[in-house]
Each structure stands twice: as structure tokens, then as C-alpha cells.
């Protein structure tokens, strides 16, 4: 049975150190994405480039609920997920510029990055394809008999794909330890949720398959983390999948070439001013006297240096050798361990 929307008012128990960590990680994603947008404008990044600005609390909150060995898979709006699971900003940025030092040696690009080491399974360009793949990753852990959980992230647009519901059905049937994370940023490219479905919410669709879930305020990293912990505990206990519909907002266009005429500038501005997830934590840190302005400035400076370093690396890293055109088409041995 599906549970009701969480109405818990209890203050989450969080340490100053954790708060600072969330602040840092969210800011890292934002600054990284701003830099990526800048490099795109300069022609250093080509093709499609989908920025995560505004949605930072979703992935940072959920990663805070993950343990070593947990897996994650997402769509093409993937830079934030990679940074949040500990992938090196240099390798990510160099993949954006299509260079040898990138995570896929320049052969994947913005939409297709992977890290076997960090259990990050892409980076998928086909809307909703990552949903059954995520359930399959969870299937591999269940088969091996460990208690790992997979986070399968997808958007409100992907939530209308048939394969999502095929996956819900099998994930519940087989009790797969997968958290379906619907990052509802309100717009599937240029189509608002109101124009694509009459469902009042997306998580409730899981009830048709017997999957529990809830809606979460995705602009509040602590609420996301709390919901993530609940979902993960459900999966680890062998109770099957769980759905989190994390309501969030993307400040930038769908991709770099999106003129964003489907919403007003005021709407975006209002979200930025009133609901910004990073600003909220910043205020919490300051008013709670967990950090001083100077402390936060030091973090900002530190992040700026890391991001600039990643950009420099991404510019300096050479283009892949021409021989790379012909490598990695077939494996001669198992590409990843069982």
C-alpha cells in the first residue's frame, strides 16, 4: 500500500558538520555547472549540455542516505549526480570538453559518463531507459545476496514512458532493492506537467503496482535526506522498491539551446529568490551560528579553485588519440567484476 505524503514536523537531527557538507556539495555542483555553461558558450563544450542548477538538493540529500556499495543511474542531466557520488570534477569536466582525461576518454560526452569505481552506471540519453537498468542493477545485488540499494533517477518527463511501469511491476514482483527517484522539475523539456498528465502526482502511480512512496520537498536537502533514509531502509529490509517524487526546479533551460519561452522569467526568479536550496542552508548555517560569513567565504573560495582547476584540466587535456576511435567496441575480458 502506498503511504500518505509525509507530514512529519520533527526537526531532522543534523550536525553542523553535516550541514556544512551539504552546503559544500550543493555549491560545488552549482559552481561546476555555471562553469560548464560558460565553457559551452565559449565553444569548448559541444552538443547537448543539460545543467542541474536548482536541483542540487535532490542528489546531495539522497547521496547522504547512501552507503558504500550502493549504485546509482540517471538520465542525461547527470553532472550533479557524478559530483555528488564522489567522481572527480576534473574527469567530469574533461569529458564535457571531449578530452582524453575525461571519464569516458572523451567518447561519451555530457550525457554518457560512467564510473565503475563509484558505482555510477550512467548517464543515459534515452529518456527512461535508466529506469529498468536501475532495477536490473538492484537485481544483481539481490542475486548476489548483499544489502546494496540502487538509486534510479528519472524526471517527470520520463515518468510517462511505458518502460517505467513495466519496471515498477517487475521491481515489486521480485522485491528489488531500488529507490525510484522522480526528479520532478515541473518541465519535460518545454512541456509542463499540467500539459502532459492529469495525474495530480507521479509517485501515487506506484500504488497501482503496490509500491510505497511519497512526495518530498526537493528544495530542502534535509527533507530529501530524511526521505532517502526511509526509502533506503525499506529497500535494505528486503521490502522491495520505494518511490520518491522529489519536487524540484531547474533554473536553466532544458539544454543550453533552450530559449525557455514556456515559463515566465518571474516564475524562475521567484523560485531562485524564495526556494533556493543552497541559500536556505546558508541561512541555516549563519542563523544557527554553525558557520561565520568568513567560514562560508572560505568554502566558496575553495570550491571556486576546484572548479577552475577542473576547467583548466579540461582545456589542457589533449583530445583523444585517433586510435581511440577503434577501441572499446568489444571487450576481450569481462569489463566489470561480478
Amino acid at each position: 500500500m502506498a503511504t500518505k505524503k509525509s507530514t512529519s514536523k520533527a526537526k531532522p537531527n543534523v550536525s553542523a558538520e553535516e550541514l556544512l557538507g551539504h552546503y559544500r556539495e550543493m555549491l560545488m555542483i552549482r559552481r561546476f555547472e555555471e562553469k560548464a555553461g560558460q565553457l559551452y558558450g565559449m565553444g569548448l563544450i559541444g552538443g547537448f549540455c543539460h545543467l542541474y542548477i536548482g536541483q542540487e538538493a535532490v542528489v546531495v540529500g539522497l547521496e547522504a542516505a547512501a552507503k558504500d556499495g550502493d549504485k546509482r543511474v540517471t538520465s542525461y542531466r547527470d553532472h550533479g549526480h557524478m559530483l555528488a557520488c564522489g567522481m572527480d570534477p576534473k574527469g567530469v569536466m574533461a569529458e564535457l570538453t571531449g578530452r582524453e582525461g575525461g571519464y569516458s576518454a572523451g567518447k561519451g560526452g555530457s550525457m554518457h559518463m560512467f564510473s565503475a569505481e563509484k558505482h555510477f552506471y550512467g548517464g543515459h540519453g534515452i529518456v527512461a531507459a535508466q529506469v529498468p537498468i536501475g532495477a536490473g542493477l538492484a537485481c544483481s545485488d539481490k542475486y548476489k545476496g548483499n544489502d546494496n540499494v540502487t538509486f534510479a533517477y528519472f524526471g517527470d518527463g520520463a515518468a510517462n514512458q511505458g518502460q517505467v511501469y513495466e519496471t515498477y511491476n517487475m521491481a515489486e514482483l521480485w522485491d528489488l532493492p531500488v529507490v525510484f527517484v522522480i526528479e520532478n522539475n515541473q518541465y519535460a523539456m518545454g512541456t509542463s506537467m499540467q500539459r502532459s498528465t492529469k495525474s495530480p502526482s507521479l509517485w501515487e502511480r506506484g500504488a497501482a503496482y503496490g509500491i510505497e512512496g511519497e512526495a518530498v520537498d526537493g528544495m530542502d536537502v534535509l527533507k530529501v535526506k530524511e526521505a532517502g533514509e526511509k526509502a533506503v531502509a525499506h529497500c535494505r529490509a528486503g521490502k522491495g522498491p520505494y518511490i520518491l517524487e522529489v519536487n524540484t526546479y531547474r533554473y536553466r533551460g532544458h539544454s543550453m539551446s533552450d530559449p525557455a519561452k514556456y515559463r515566465t522569467r518571474e516564475e524562475v526568479q521567484k523560485m531562485r529568490e524564495e526556494r533556493d536550496p543552497i541559500e536556505a542552508i546558508r541561512q541555516m548555517l549563519l542563523t544557527g551560528k554553525h558557520a561565520s560569513e568568513d567560514d562560508l567565504k572560505a568554502i566558496d573560495k575553495d570550491i571556486k579553485a576546484i572548479v577552475n582547476e577542473s576547467a583548466e584540466f579540461a582545456k589542457d587535456s589533449p583530445e583523444p588519440a585517433l586510435e581511440e576511435l577503434w577501441t572499446d567496441i568489444y571487450a576481450t575480458e569481462l569489463p566489470q567484476e561480478a
Binding site: I133, E166, N169, T327, I329
Partner: protein
């Protein structure tokens, strides 16, 4: 420190644009995220946001200017108290576009796939002479191959519709549930797109799934995962991860099952880099190649045939019999013409060769067995000997396996050809239901004989 603001690229294809409107004027303070200009690209009018903070020192390109090249300085941003005419630092000098493009023009980009050249065909037999033989059906051979490999490797499991409790829609998985249990022989709901995606995810997670499609016609619901998720991931991940798995099931026409259940997908899958494609004919092919497929660290398409399932063949009675990929089998040797086929096409090829022998035409019949990798050296060597070639398959003519073979033969053995290659294929029509029309739609032995007579000028 003064910074140049450069004309941005705002779409994947933008090279220049119109600076439609400045939203700020000289002297205005701007902060990161402020809209400073509207720029018209080839697609749309875009708002251009400031990246850095500062004061608009100088506008270099007036609004309304058309054809402003990407990366041209359009304004100078200064810090408070700074002279607008101060020499700006190149914010972050972009790499010249021509540098990025130069490698595309270099001759090395034309280079051929550096797979080790196989100048000679490998004619070693699949089993040594004198090996003890037994009779088995293709069905039994496939079943044995799966059972042996599942015994050998704990990570191998079978999933598909009716594979477990029903014992397989075509009884290929008979007995496997009893032997390996429901954890490793998994009945799925009728949901090809979904369970194929789950199987790909399980392969990414370190397992070795065998996905049975009741027939390959239904795999069209899942082809996105086969190609985009399974075949391309090794490349897209720079070799970090891939999908070691087998997609198997009945392919091509059965008998009287109509247009939606009768398609041959050999040519479709053969086109995809990252996939390996197998189409066995005999029981020995089926067993030896399926065992190799299950062990292969790549996604393998294994195209079976319902009509062949019940057919019996002689098979070596040995432990752990495997056949390597990319090794064709000369099923019959001859000097007058080369007939190349695979899968059920072999029955027409062999029957034609039999009849032709009575007319004094000795055909060499090659069973390709794997279409990716394909054993071209064996084909070319044979064509250089016979100077004539006919290809045989049940699939459609346009973009067929035969068309590709003919093209390769023309490019690599043109001087040896005494006649154009003839491709015998199914007809260019959806499969009809009526018995007489269905027979007409498939390739026939008579058509193969006629083609051979044509290329041998008889």
C-alpha cells in the same frame, strides 16, 4: 581586472548570431545570472546571462549587429574603480575552433579498423576426425549448452516469458527450472522492453543474463535496450563497463504465422558495432556457439529458428564442446561456385548443391555461422577459387546480408569474379498467411539453383 565578455555559442550548431538587444548599458552593475543581452541564434532568441560580477565597462558590439561570430568580444566587464579602457584579460581564452577540427581532417582519421588482418581462413575442423558422434536436435543442443554453462558459472541466469514453469514456449529451457531453481530460471511478465532493460542492468551489475525472446519479433519492443543500452555502453564508458549477455530466441519465418511473427533480423543486428551476431544452422553449431556466446564478455544476438529446433544432426559426443566466433564452416567443397549462407538459409544452399552436383556443377557451400564477426577470409578465398558467388538468406533483399557480402566481394575480389554476385533472399513483401503465398515469399531451392546456373552461364 577587466574581463572580455565573448559572443556565446548557444546551440550545438551555432557559429554566429545576431546581438539583438543589450539589456544593460555601460556603467551598470551586473551580477552572475543577470540577463545582459538577447541573442538570436539559428533556432531562437536566447537570453544571455552574465557569468561574472562587475560593471559593464564598454559595449563593443552594438545591438542589432548581425553575423557576430562566436567568441568575438562583445563587451568588457570591469571592477569598481577600474578604467573601462583597461586592457582586458582574455577571460579564459577558448581553444581556437580550428584546433579542435584539425584532427578530423588528418589522414589518420580515414584509417581502417585495425583488427588484426586475417589473410588466411582457418580451416581446422570443429572436432578432430574419429571423434565419437551422437544424434541430437537443435533444441537439445541449445538446452545442453545453457545447462552446461549455468553449471559452470553461477552468474549465468535465464529470463524470459514462459522459460521456467511452462518449460519454454518452444521447450528450449525444458528441465532448467528443476535443475537450477527459480532464482536462476526466471519467468517474466509479458514486458519485453522492461525485462530487457532489467537484464542489461543486471549485466552492468556483474551478472551474465541470457534473455530468451519467445521470438525475435517481440524483441523490437526491446531493441532500444539491445542497441542503445547493451551494445554502446562499453564504448560510451571508455571501456569501464559493458553488458556481457546473450539475447536469444526464434528468428525468421516459422510456418503460417503471418507478417508480424515471421521477420528475419539478421541484417538489422549485423549492422551494429558492439554486438556480436550468431545464426547457427546445425545442432553442433547451436551448442558450440551458444556456449561461446554465454562466455563472451559482450552482448551477443543469437538467432535461432523454430523450424530447425526439431531437426536432428550429428554432433560430437565430447565434454565442453565450443565453436569460436568468426569461423565459417565449409559444409561442402567444390570448385565451380561458392554458395554462402547461414542459419536456415543453409537448407536451401545444401539442397541446391545436392541437385547441382547431379548436373555436374560442384558448389562449395559456406555456413557463415557468425555474422559479426564475420569470416570474410573464408568467403574470399573460396570466391578466388570458384570465381562465382551466390548468397542465400530468408530475409528481405534491400540492405540484406547478401548485399553486404556482395559489396565486400566486389571490393576485395573484383578481378577474380567471372559473374556478378547474385543475392537470393526472401521477397520484398511482408509475410503473407496463405500457404501458397508464404512459400512464394521465402527463398527457394529452385531460385538458388537458377542463380547458380546464371553465374556459371549454364
Amino acid at each position: 581586472m577587466a574581463t572580455e565578455i565573448l559572443m556565446p555559442a548557444l546551440s550545438p550548431t551555432m557559429e554566429e548570431g545576431t546581438l539583438a538587444k543589450w539589456m544593460v548599458k555601460e556603467g551598470d552593475t551586473v551580477s552572475s545570472g543577470d540577463i545582459i543581452a538577447e541573442i538570436e541564434t539559428d533556432k531562437a532568441t536566447m537570453e544571455f546571462e552574465a557569468v561574472d560580477e562587475g560593471i559593464m565597462g564598454k559595449i563593443l558590439i552594438a545591438e542589432g549587429t548581425e553575423g557576430v561570430k562566436v567568441n568575438t568580444a562583445i563587451a568588457i566587464l570591469v571592477e569598481e574603480g577600474e578604467d573601462a579602457d583597461a586592457t582586458p584579460t582574455k577571460a579564459s581564452a577558448p581553444v581556437p575552433q580550428d584546433k579542435a577540427q584539425s584532427s578530423e581532417d588528418s589522414p589518420a582519421a580515414d584509417m581502417k579498423h585495425p583488427t588484426p588482418a586475417q589473410p588466411k581462413s582457418d580451416a581446422t575442423p570443429d572436432w578432430p576426425e574419429g571423434t565419437k558422434m551422437r544424434t541430437a536436435t537443435v533444441r537439445e543442443a541449445l538446452n545442453e549448452a545453457m545447462a552446461e554453462e549455468m553449471t559452470r558459472d553461477e552468474t549465468v541466469f535465464l529470463m524470459g516469458e514462459e522459460v521456467a514453469e511452462y518449460q519454454g514456449a518452444y521447450k528450449i529451457s525444458q528441465g532448467l527450472l528443476d535443475k537450477f531453481g527459480s532464482k536462476r530460471v526466471i519467468d517474466t511478465p509479458i514486458t519485453e522492453h522492461g525485462f530487457t532493460g532489467i537484464a542489461v542492468g543486471a549485466a552492468f551489475g556483474g551478472l551474465r543474463p541470457i534473455v530468451e525472446f519467445m521470438t525475435f519479433n517481440f524483441a523490437m519492443q526491446a531493441i532500444d535496450h539491445i542497441i542503445n543500452s547493451a551494445a554502446k555502453t562499453l564504448y560510451m564508458s571508455g571501456g569501464q563497463m559493458g553488458a556481457p549477455m546473450v539475447f536469444r530466441g526464434a528468428n525468421g519465418a516459422a510456418a503460417r504465422v503471418g507478417a508480424q511473427h515471421s521477420q528475419d533480423y539478421a541484417a538489422w543486428y549485423m549492422q551494429v558495432p558492439g554486438l556480436k551476431v550468431v545464426m547457427p544452422y546445425s545442432a553442433a553449431d547451436a551448442k558450440g556457439l551458444l556456449k561461446t556466446a554465454i562466455r563472451d564478455p559482450n552482448p551477443v544476438i543469437f538467432l535461432e529458428n523454430e523450424i530447425l529446433y526439431g531437426r536432428s544432426f550429428e554432433m560430437p559426443d565430447v565434454d565442453d564442446f565450443t565453436i569460436p566466433f568468426g569461423k565459417a564452416k565449409i559444409e561442402r567443397s567444390g570448385d565451380d561456385v561458392t554458395i554462402v549462407s547461414f542459419g536456415i538459409g543453409m537448407q536451401y544452399a545444401l539442397a541446391a548443391a545436392e541437385k547441382l552436383a547431379k548436373d555436374g556443377i560442384n558448389a562449395e557451400v559456406i555456413n557463415l555461422r557468425t555474422l559479426r564477426p564475420v569470416d570474410l577470409p573464408t568467403v574470399l578465398e573460396s570466391v578466388r577459387k570458384t570465381n562465382r558467388c551466390v548468397t542465400v538468406e530468408e530475409g528481405w533483399p534491400q540492405g540484406s546480408v547478401g548485399s553486404w557480402l556482395a559489396s565486400e566481394i566486389m571490393q576485395q575480389a573484383f578481378d577474380y569474379l567471372d559473374a556478378p554476385v547474385i543475392t537470393c533472399t526472401g521477397k520484398d513483401v511482408p509475410m503473407p498467411y496463405a500457404a501458397n503465398l508464404e512459400k512464394l515469399a521465402l527463398v527457394t531451392t529452385d531460385e538458388v539453383i537458377e542463380a547458380v546456373k546464371k553465374v556459371t552461364y549454364r
